[in-house]
């Protein structure tokens, strides 16, 4: 049985299917274009890196890439579980964010400065939680280097925040608390690069804007699909200032 789950979602030239058959249960991604195939090649590199960090490569990879004619197909072992409801915002997803950041600290190396691996779309929508823990999916923007330690976790934090803020300008107290908790966890685990200590949101946005190489078409054509870029400059400064005040206390 093959079902179509999404069709060129978010401007990506990829078809996504759920496949159940004699060979098992898979998430299948198919592309017939060069831009889509590039994303799938990044995705398999991401999965392989992730599996190597988790130490599961010895058990055989859960991903297989095959090409026939102009059609590139990536089958990824199906992960049953629940996804976070990112659109409900930070307060409603406190536990989710905590577990995601813990998982991030476990997977990513504690390196300082640039050169860190990058997921590139570390959103609650790309995390699955089940009895065996948290699983990161959708590695289409993966880069083995060029990232910044803590980037993905900080991205998750502010993207979830953005979805819950709606028309509001200021952070609520519980949101501030979660932001501080998260940044402190990353810092304590040496997974927070210097720019994200001083002005996390401003520097997160600056990093995205200055790295078209990772987000390509999405950044050029639909930057609004990267939610953290939807904060206004004033909001960004206000949020960073509020964080700094909290940290000083």
């Amino acid at each position: 049985m093959i079902e179509l789950l999404s069709n060129c979602a978010r401007g990506r030239e990829i078809f996504t299917y759920h496949v159940k058959g004699r060979e098992g249960e898979f998430l299948r991604k198919v592309s017939v274009t060069a831009p889509g195939s590039t994303l799938l090649e990044k995705e398999i590199a991401g999965w392989k890196w992730y599996e190597s960090r988790l130490g599961t490569t010895g058990t055989g990879s859960s991903c297989h890439l095959k090409r026939h004619k102009e059609c590139l197909t990536l089958d990824i072992g199906w992960i049953e579980g629940k996804k976070g409801e990112f659109y409900q915002g930070l307060a409603a997803n406190r536990e989710w964010v905590r577990q995601a950041v813990e998982h991030y600290c476990r997977v990513w190396p504690a390196e300082a400065g640039s050169g860190a691996p990058l997921h590139g779309d570390f959103s609650l929508d790309n995390l699955i939680r089940n009895s065996s823990g948290v699983h990161i999916i959708d590695w289409e923007h993966f880069s083995p280097d060029g990232g910044c330690v803590g980037f993905d976790a900080v991205y998750l934090l502010f993207e979830t925040l953005w979805f819950g803020m709606g028309e509001r300008i200021n952070l609520e107290d519980n949101e501030k608390k979660i932001v501080i908790e998260t940044l402190q966890t990353l810092d304590k685990n040496r997974r927070l690069a210097e720019p994200f200590r001083a002005a996390p949101l401003k520097n997160l946005r600056a990093f995205i804007r200055s790295h078209e190489i990772f987000w390509g078409e999405q950044l050029r054509v639909t930057p609004c699909k990267l939610p953290v870029l939807n904060f206004t400059e004033t909001q960004t400064d206000d949020i960073d200032n509020a964080i700094q005040r909290m940290l000083r206390h």
Partner: protein
């Protein structure tokens, strides 16, 4: 345009049919069905003489570019579980929305259409896409020739409901317009005969991909016009009532018959197909966003309609989530895709 690997097919086509401008032509002389009027098609053909196909359509009829070239149109082909070695026939291929993607995934595709200008466009498009494994046949689908070389795959995409039509259909002059026409026979009988011929042209174990609007799509109950006649409620009304409405409003019988999931399966069985898998298709089969098995519990169903900040869209999304996730009313899905085997 054909390759040595498709020689069997090409040999039969060359032997049995005349060839004009690299397109095989069957007798009797077919009719005409196109979104474009004959004079518009003439304009497009002139543009094709000195422009690539995509550029010509963009310049002359920009609204059609997405319809013809959108990547999204081919998403359903994965249901066929292709190996890359298949030979295929795309019935009613028009401008090649599925012919070209099929050619990029399989060994050989025969595109069949009754409108010569559509095939001229597709021929140019295939050449520009470097698809040298495509052959084109200009034929009336109602009198589709029986081929001795059988195909592994048949595609009938948005075509079955048009089979009972005959003569010239210039869609802009037809859709919702009063045009007195006479028809012979029962629409279902025409559709069944066509499907029987599709079946006969397939290898044992060959697969049919059939996509069509659902007769009982929930939108039809809300008064959304039938996409073939532009009449409200004709799809869901009893056939005789629909016929009566169509004769009064459009001066012609109601022949563009759609089917429910069960009735479509029965029609396919009557035409000789077996092992039929039906799928719910959202928001429609042309640009599918979700294709779900009828066995899906719909527990995680989420509307595939665009999340636009307008009340109309919000209400429709909400309605879909209630109808399908909460009430599991699978029979009201907008479109149906059926994969059937010989």
């Amino acid at each position: 345009m054909t390759t040595p690997s498709s020689f069997d097919f090409a040999e039969e086509l060359t032997r049995r049919f005349g060839c004009e401008e690299g397109i095989y032509r069957a007798e009797p002389s077919p009719g005409y069905w196109s979104n474009l009027n004959t004079d518009e098609n003439k304009e497009l053909m002139e543009a094709l003489e000195n422009k690539p196909a995509r550029e010509a359509i963009r310049e002359k009829f920009p609204a059609l570019e997405e319809v013809i070239y959108s990547l999204k149109r081919q998403a359903g082909l994965e249901l066929l579980d292709l190996t890359g070695e298949e030979t295929c026939i795309d019935y009613g291929c028009m401008w090649g929305a599925l012919t070209i993607p099929l050619a990029q995934r399989t060994r050989f595709v025969l595109g069949v259409d009754q409108t010569m200008d559509s095939l001229r466009f597709l021929k140019a498009r295939a050449r520009e896409s470097r698809c040298d494994n495509v052959a084109l046949l200009n034929a009336d689908l109602k009198s589709m020739p029986l081929l001795s070389r059988k195909a592994d795959i048949a595609v009938v995409n948005g075509v079955l409901e048009w089979i009972p039509e005959s003569g010239t259909v210039e869609l802009k002059k037809f859709y919702g317009q009063r045009t007195v026409r006479t028809y012979q026979g029962n629409p279902r009988d025409h559709q069944k005969s066509f499907l029987q011929r599709v079946h006969e042209n397939l290898t044992p174990g060959g697969k049919l991909y059939l996509a069509i609007e659902n007769r009982y799509a929930y939108e039809m109950f809300l008064g959304v016009p039938d996409p073939h006649s532009n009449l409200r409620f004709t799809s869901i009304a009893p056939r005789k009532v629909a016929d009566w409405i169509s004769r009064i409003k459009l001066g012609r019988a109601y022949v563009n018959w759609l089917y429910s999931f069960g009735d479509l399966e029965q029609l396919l069985k009557d035409a000789g197909f077996s092992a039929i898998d039906s799928y719910l298709c959202f928001p429609d089969y042309r640009f599918p966003q979700k294709i779900l098995s009828t066995a899906n519990s719909l527990e995680d169903f989420q509307s595939a309609l665009p999340d636009k900040p307008f009340l109309k869209w919000k209400v429709r999304r909400l309605l879909e989530n209630i109808l399908f996730r909460k009430l599991k009313l699978k029979g009201l899905a907008p479109s149906i895709i059926a994969i059937a085997r010989t």
